[in-house]
């Protein structure tokens, strides 16, 4: 009997090849330093670093998190070291790993995004950029870039013009028609879409009657996000042919497979890195085993293989 060779878990996100579809999501692994002590980042498909801005950002005042049923709220306030310090102090360590490094970026204006993208375009070892568009555009009355197709188109096009690296746009869930939003990003020049970012929520302390977060509301993440994210990915899949990256609530192999069947070619693990820090490397092995058991030679067979029920 011949031993089946280990399943090849490689996937293509547009022009960018990942050794496997498992990535770590922005804001849940910093710049890879600490998580690198627990997980061999070279075993993963990629790591998306904490959202970078032009200048360093202090972030919101505490209290910044609250546990909720099935998840957690955060209002970190996009604290980060700034793009310059990232390239100087953090990127060299990440370049030691045989993995893809994706820079998540954000800004308060279209020009901010373009400037950060231009800086990272020059940074060797950054393999793709991911736009976090869940932040307010201060020049347009503070409406979130990700909720308005016109602004999303504009910010995507500006980043597109500033870099020749693969450009991913990370969509925010709190919108009426995610398909419309997805197409705006596509037309703006995105190479891939990741979905979803956190969804807004709040919690109240009944003794003090105060909100649990200093900012009143925050971003909900964790297991409760899974069905919402799967459904939005399904809608995005119908709207655009772009490669998709699934994010939201993943903490089992089963969840990774669900995202891929709905249409994601890769996924990102977020909150699970907090409560199960070695899950990402474990799930790579589990995925390989699953593929062997199911005689799947290429994950492309799985991507978008959803079988819809007959209607009517």
């Amino acid at each position: 009997m011949t031993e089946r060779r280990p399943a090849d878990l490689g996937v293509d996100v547009g022009s960018l090849r990942l050794k496997n579809p498992i990535m770590l999501a922005s804001g849940t692994v910093g710049y890879g330093e600490e998580i690198g002590e627990l997980v061999d980042l070279s075993e993963l498909g990629g790591i998306v670093v904490k959202g970078l801005s032009l200048e360093p950002v202090t972030g919101n005042r505490p209290q910044r998190i609250a546990e909720t049923p099935g998840g957690m709220l955060n209002s970190i306030g996009l604290q980060n070291v700034g793009v310059e310090a990232f390239v100087r102090d953090k990127l060299p360590n990440l370049r030691r790993y045989d993995t893809r490094v994706i820079a998540n970026i954000w800004g308060k204006t279209v020009q901010d995004y373009a400037a950060v993208a231009a800086r990272l375009d020059q940074a060797e070892g950054v393999h793709a950029l991911e736009l976090n568009v869940s932040c307010p555009n201060i020049k347009e009355g503070g409406i979130s870039f990700g909720t308005d197709p016109k602004q999303l188109h504009e910010v995507t096009a500006a980043a597109r013009a500033a870099t020749s690296k693969p450009l991913w746009v990370k969509l925010a869930p709190g919108v009426t028609d995610i398909g419309l939003i997805a197409r705006a990003a596509e037309e703006g020049g995105a190479d891939a879409l990741s979905a979803i970012n956190t969804i807004r929520g709040m919690m109240v302390n009944v003794e003090s009657r105060a909100p649990m977060l200093s900012t009143v509301f925050g971003g909900y993440s964790g297991p409760g996000l899974l069905p919402i994210a799967l459904y939005l990915l399904f809608e995005i899949r119908k709207a655009t042919p772009l490669p998709l990256i699934g994010i939201g609530g993943i903490n089992e192999l089963e969840h990774v497979l669900q995202f891929m069947i709905v249409g994601a070619c890769a996924v990102q693990i977020g909150t699970a890195n907090f409560y199960d820090p070695t899950f990402s490397s474990r799930v790579v092995d589990e995925l390989a085993q699953w593929c062997r058991n199911h005689e799947i030679d290429s994950l492309a067979e799985l991507v978008g293989s959803l079988r819809l029920p007959r209607q009517g």
Partner: protein
């Protein structure tokens, strides 16, 4: 730091709210320093989702070798209630040891004064042992709401460390705040003293004003809600002075939990 699934060796209740969980874990036991903490899962599932930070209480030894550790837990909410129901033989996911540790006084002749409130006492018996081994005279001040909230007095007694106790309701020790007993003691001291504190924030702040008024070095162990415990989520920050004379956030789980109190800003700089 190590990420392990450990088998719970023993559970021991100290009173109706407080209990000790002991684990066999030689690697963690060898690495752990006084003041460091661990992230313990309260259940195997996702309710509650996040692990709970707990200070290293004891390092357990066998034939003089570190083979395990324990944590001293006060039941206060969802997670700690689940922990109070754990039994020997249960598997628990544990990440640690994490964070910074208490440093013995820079002055080799200094007396170490440990001030603790409630379950904030947990890291101090281990530290007291290290202080005694390093030759420092050591003294403990323990505060609590009631006699049920006074912890670790027997541990200090076993080490020969003198203990002063105070309760808010007068049910044991001095009637009143432990800081009043501390002030009284320090007024009679003339040699060098280093202060260490862990407990409710108002207590640590009061200890800090006492220490700074006398120019005494003071290390504090802080608490904050934590999601990751390793420095990646940025949830556990506290404002602290920076080298340039401004301020910046420090992570309690990484740069702390033990800080030199003179670097902390008890009032938020934006206020």
């Amino acid at each position: 730091m190590f990420e392990k699934r450990l088998t719970l060796d023993a559970v021991r209740f100290l009173n109706s709210r407080c209990f000790v969980l002991a684990f066999h874990a030689p690697e963690i036991a060898r690495a752990a320093r006084p003041g460091q903490f661990l992230m313990l899962a309260a259940s195997d599932g996702i309710e509650p989702l996040l692990r709970r930070p707990m200070a290293v209480y004891q390092i357990l030894e066998s034939s003089g070798e570190p083979v395990g550790f324990s944590v001293l837990v006060e039941r206060t909410g969802k997670g700690t209630t689940l922990m109070s129901k754990m039994q020997a033989g249960d598997e628990v996911a544990v990440l640690g040891p994490l964070g910074s540790s208490f440093a013995p006084p820079g002055d080799a002749t200094a007396e170490a004064v440990l001030v603790m409130g409630g379950v904030g006492a947990a890291p101090f018996p281990l530290f007291a042992r290290a202080l005694l081994e390093a030759g420092h005279t050591t003294r403990a001040f323990i505060g609590g709401r009631t006699s049920e909230h006074l912890l670790c007095a027997e541990d200090f007694a076993a080490l020969g460390v003198p203990v002063t106790q105070a309760t808010d309701d007068g049910s044991a020790g001095h009637h009143g705040l432990v800081t009043a007993a501390l002030t009284e003691y320090l007024s009679g001291c003339d040699g060098p003293v280093a202060i260490y504190s862990c407990g409710p924030t108002p207590m640590m702040r009061a200890v800090d004003s006492i220490a700074s008024a006398r120019g005494l070095p003071h290390q504090v162990s802080l608490e904050a809600p934590m999601a990751c415990g390793i420095g990646v989520c940025l949830s556990c920050v506290v404002p602290a002075v920076d080298e340039a004379g401004g301020w910046r956030y420090r992570r309690i789980c990484r740069e702390g939990p033990v800080f030199d109190a003179s670097t902390l800003l008890w009032e938020h700089p934006d206020d």
